[in-house]
Structure formats: structure tokens, C-alpha cells
Amino acid sequence: MIRRMLAPSRPNPLALALLLLAAVCLFVAGLQHARLFHRGYAEVEIVGLLFLMSGIGSAVVVLTLIFDRAWLFVIGALSICVPSLVSIALSHSSGFLGFREGGYDIDALVIVVAEIAAVILAALGAAAMLARSPSEP
């Protein structure tokens, strides 16, 4: 399983298109996190660091797709976006690591939309890869 994830894979055209779109969304979300880090979130304990790590992680995960590690990309994209979306939801409700926000402005919406899109597209891309896999040698 791990070997399969780390091995280069050539997704079929449909899967590749979905994963490339997911990569764009993930990259946008990562850029936005990095931008917000420098727009004040750096001062927020732990949460600020997570913003920076999200930016770095997004770039690394996008690179995995560029270098043909499609499964690693799917796992990475989901590993970044799902916890991020949960954290955003928590920060707008009960609080996340003591940090609370009061609403969704355009900056937050960009991240939420991009990450939801990345999750859906990555999942669809993975499904498209699996659908074609059984027929492959």
C-alpha cells in the first residue's frame, strides 16, 4: 500500500484533469494561508504557525503531483484540507486552540471554497484512478 503510494503513477486523463484542478485549488488555499500569516495571523499562538505550515505543506503536496506521485498527492491534499476545514469551522463556533473568529470574510471564504473544491476534486480523481486500475496490468 505504502509502496503503491510512493511509486510513480500515471493517472488516466480524466483522473489527471481532476487532480490538476485539485492541485490548483490546494495551491490557492496554501497561498492564502501564507498571505494571511503575514497579515497578522503570525501573532496568533499555534494557529499562526499552522497557517504557515499549511502554505508549505500545500506546495510540497502539489510537487508530489507534478512528479507523478498521484496517490501521495491525494493523501496529502486530504490531510491538509480536511483538518483545515474542521479547524476553520471550529474557530467560527466553539473556538480552535483558544482562537475564535466572528464570521466569514472574503479571505476566509477563498480558503473554504478552495479547500472544499480540493477535497471533492481529489476524491473524484482518486475514484477515477481506482475505476481504471482493475483493468491495468
Partner: protein
């Protein structure tokens, strides 16, 4: 092609992570209080009595210091405007805490500050928090904004905390 894409990814995200072209937090453009004002603010907080002391504790307990700066107590948050340069009196600061969306300081996010402080905190706690912020800024309930001659300066954009009152 692959190398170009990878290079673009690394360069773009590298610039973002390094802060190149990302601008500054709006609060970083606000001048902090001068040394003499800082000493005066510390003095006002020290002699402010139990209400001010309670407000100072609430400022940390409620996480206000994560987003707002008050140099006199070492708070360095930059998501919201500085709270040691506000011109508002205690009543106006109370309003900024309980209705933070009424007036947003230029350049700051519109929906960042939670709006439920009036539900989460008692009236006395909000009053104490506002009293502390007023002490840090040099405004007082009894003399309102009559501190214009104190040389705090900064103008309209220097830190009117409306919309980011205390959370």
C-alpha cells in the same frame, strides 16, 4: 515542462511564505505609543484599581491579546487595531466590544472579531475590560475623550478600536 511547473510552484509559494509581496498586517502600520506615553500608560494601569486589574486579566483570559496590541502589557497582536492608541471613552469602547461590526477601522477584516462578547461576558466584565483599555489609552469615563492635548497623536487611523474593541 515538469521542472518549470515545479519551479513556479516553489518560487510562488516561497515568496508567499517569505512574505514577499504579501503586504503588512494593517496594525503594523499603526505607530506604537512613544516611550513617555508607554510609561504613562503603565502608571495608569498600575493605579487603576480593581476594575482595571480585572479588565487586564480579562484582556488575556478572553484572548484579546492574540489580536490586539497594548504595549504597556506586552500584547502584540496585529489582527486588529492597536488598543493603546484609541480615542474612545469607556462607553464607546464598551460599544465596540458588544457591537464590533458597527464600525471597522480602515484596513482591518470586517468579520474577524466575534460578536458574542455581550453573551459570553457579564456587563461588569465588559465594563472592566473597557476601563482597562481606556486606561491603556489614556481615556477615562469621567473625562471622555478629553485627552486630546496629551500628544498621543496618530490621527483617525491610528487605532480607533471600533469594530475590534476588545476581543
Amino acid at each position: 515542462m515538469r521542472i518549470v511547473l515545479a519551479a513556479l510552484t516553489v518560487v510562488a509559494m516561497g515568496c508567499a511564505i517569505a512574505g514577499i509581496g504579501m503586504g503588512h498586517a494593517p496594525a503594523e502600520l499603526q505607530a506604537p505609543p512613544a516611550a513617555s506615553e508607554l510609561v504613562a500608560a503603565k502608571q495608569r494601569i498600575a493605579v487603576g484599581g480593581a476594575t482595571t486589574a480585572r479588565g487586564r486579566a480579562l484582556f488575556e483570559e478572553e484572548g484579546c491579546d492574540a489580536c490586539h496590541s497594548i504595549a504597556a502589557v506586552g500584547a502584540e497582536g496585529t489582527l486588529g487595531p492597536r488598543l493603546d492608541m484609541v480615542d474612545d471613552d469607556v462607553d464607546e469602547i464598551v460599544e465596540s466590544i458588544t457591537e464590533p461590526r458597527e464600525e471597522i477601522a480602515d484596513g482591518f477584516a470586517e468579520k474577524l472579531m466575534p460578536t458574542d462578547y455581550a453573551q459570553r461576558m457579564s456587563d461588569a466584565e465588559i465594563q472592566a475590560l473597557a476601563t482597562f483599555v481606556a486606561a491603556a489609552s489614556g481615556t477615562r469615563e469621567e473625562d471622555g475623550a478629553g485627552d486630546e492635548d496629551s500628544g498621543r497623536g496618530g490621527g483617525e487611523d491610528s487605532g480607533r478600536g471600533r469594530g475590534r474593541g476588545g476581543g
